[in-house]
């Protein structure tokens, strides 16, 4: 289990507990549940790399405590 921090630089900072083999799509659902936005409106990036929905966190090498950027579609 890892904990990922998502920050949208506009006031929303969210800590989400998830598994390493969860996909980005699952992470978006968890974030949506916590922030109240819709899951398909969320975009997760790291610098200019937009993370795709079907790839797992482990494959993106997202580790415990790592910060991701939260944007909206």
């Amino acid at each position: 289990m890892i904990e990922v921090v998502l920050n949208d630089r506009l006031g929303k900072k969210v800590k989400v507990k998830c598994n390493e083999d969860d996909t980005i799509g699952d992470l978006k659902k968890l974030v949506a549940a916590q922030t109240g936005t819709r899951a398909d409106k969320i975009r997760i990036q790291k610098w200019y790399n937009v993370y795709k929905d079907h790839i797992t966190l482990r494959d993106y090498e997202v580790h415990d405590g790592m910060g991701l950027e939260l944007y909206y579609n």
């Binding site: 507990k17 998830c18 968890l30 549940a33 937009v50 579609n73």
Partner: protein, 387 residues
């Protein structure tokens, strides 16, 4: 400025009509090539020509959420705000289904509640196919009546948030609308009569009826071939139908308002009440059963070990590793005899099932935060956290 709303346009729902589409989606549309090239300087007449060229509906798609031409045209209509008569003409026209759907969509966003129900419900009879673009860029098949259903019941469609409208029964109770008359009502009445005649003839017996009603769901009722299916339901897979019905009831509970809107048959109400009663009763029964299982497990653990040496030893080993420790701390091992002589054959499957339930859910983790997270994950359909 090309993106300004027509100055003679009225405010819709208290705001500039273009604001009915969210800021981000709106910006995406303004930056779109189709909008800039094709939708510049369109009037109501030329808009019809563009609408006739449409060949798919959809929201935003792709990695950078490009809007579809359908959305651009909706935006254009919001910008120029055509007369209501024109929109109704769009809906009434039969030849071009995408024009119809465009008009319906626009009316749903901008029209008053009564208008929405009045003009969109006849479109339920349109069964034509539509091509719908999904978020990942692929096309999928849908139908006009499915889309209308989505417009009337969901609050999001094609990446545009639908304004809230009053429920149908509210409008009916105020008197602004007539109760819904379905196009299939005559067919239902026919079926009803046929069934009643059969009952009178004594083709069904009491038990058979009950099983049949339980296994039914409104979708299947609409199916005209229910008579053929009847025997199939009765004989095999009774449990499966029952489980499926339970799930369906759970779903239906959420969408119950929708069912009330489409209140067609008094019979259907009768079935629904009966099904809901069964569902509630079964849930309580299962909960009791689970509690009793856990006590039985504690009691049986000692007894099991004495039975066969090799098997129990491996099982002990397995138990001691994980679950047993926790169980010992959490609950007392003193046997509580609630049941009578236990059934040796039913022990194993029950024990296995309970073990699976404990492991699968994870919502009873000692750490409350993790338990809460697992609960959320279970509600979203994800596996629990592997701590």
């Amino acid at each position: 400025m090309a993106n300004r709303t027509d100055p003679s346009a009225k405010n819709i729902r208290g705001t500039n009509p273009q604001n009915l589409i969210e800021k981000i989606v709106r910006t995406k549309i303004y930056n779109n090539t189709y909008w800039k090239e094709q939708c510049f300087g369109l009037t109501a007449e030329t808009l019809v020509d563009k609408a006739m060229e449409l060949d798919h509906i959809g929201g935003t798609f792709g990695g950078n959420r490009k809007p579809t031409p359908f959305m651009c045209l909706v935006m254009k209509m919001l910008q120029i705000q055509p007369e209501k008569e024109i929109v109704i003409e769009f809906i009434k026209n039969d030849d071009y289904k995408y024009v119809r759907v465009l008009g319906a969509f626009y009316l749903r966003i901008t029209g008053s509640d009564t208008d929405v129900y009045q003009y969109l419900e006849p479109l339920y009879n349109d069964y034509r196919k539509l091509r719908s673009k999904l978020a990942d860029g692929r096309f999928s098949l849908t139908h006009v009546d499915e889309l209308i259903d989505e417009l009337l019941t969901k609050d999001y469609s094609c990446d545009i948030a639908m304004p809230r409208i009053k429920k149908r029964w509210t409008l009916e109770s105020i008197g602004l609308l007539e109760p819904r008359k379905s196009a299939l009502e005559e067919d239902f009445e026919e079926e009803e009569e046929k069934e009643e005649n059969d009952q009178l003839n004594g083709l069904d017996d009491e038990v058979h009826d009950k099983e049949y009603y339980r296994g039914r769901s409104p979708e299947r009722e609409r199916d005209r071939d229910r008579r053929r299916d009847r025997d199939r339901y009765r004989d095999r897979d009774y449990d499966r139908e029952y489980d499926r019905d339970r799930d369906y009831d759970r779903e239906r509970g959420r969408g119950r308002e929708r069912d009330r809107n489409r209140d067609r048959d008094r019979d259907r109400d009768r079935y629904r009440l009966r099904d809901e009663k069964d569902y509630g009763r079964d849930r309580d029964r299962d909960r009791e059963w689970d509690g009793r299982e856990r006590e039985r497990r504690d009691r049986d653990r000692g007894r099991r070990r004495s039975h066969s040496r090799s098997r129990s030893r491996s099982r002990e080993h397995k138990d001691r590793e994980g679950g047993d420790h926790r169980k010992r701390h959490a609950r007392s091992i003193s046997p509580r005899r609630r049941d009578g002589p236990d059934d040796g054959t039913r022990e194993e499957p029950r024990k296995k099932k309970e073990k699976k339930e404990k492991k699968a859910d994870g919502t009873d983790h000692p750490d409350p935060e993790i338990a809460e997270a697992n609960r959320l994950r279970a509600s979203l359909g994800l596996k629990p956290l592997n701590v």
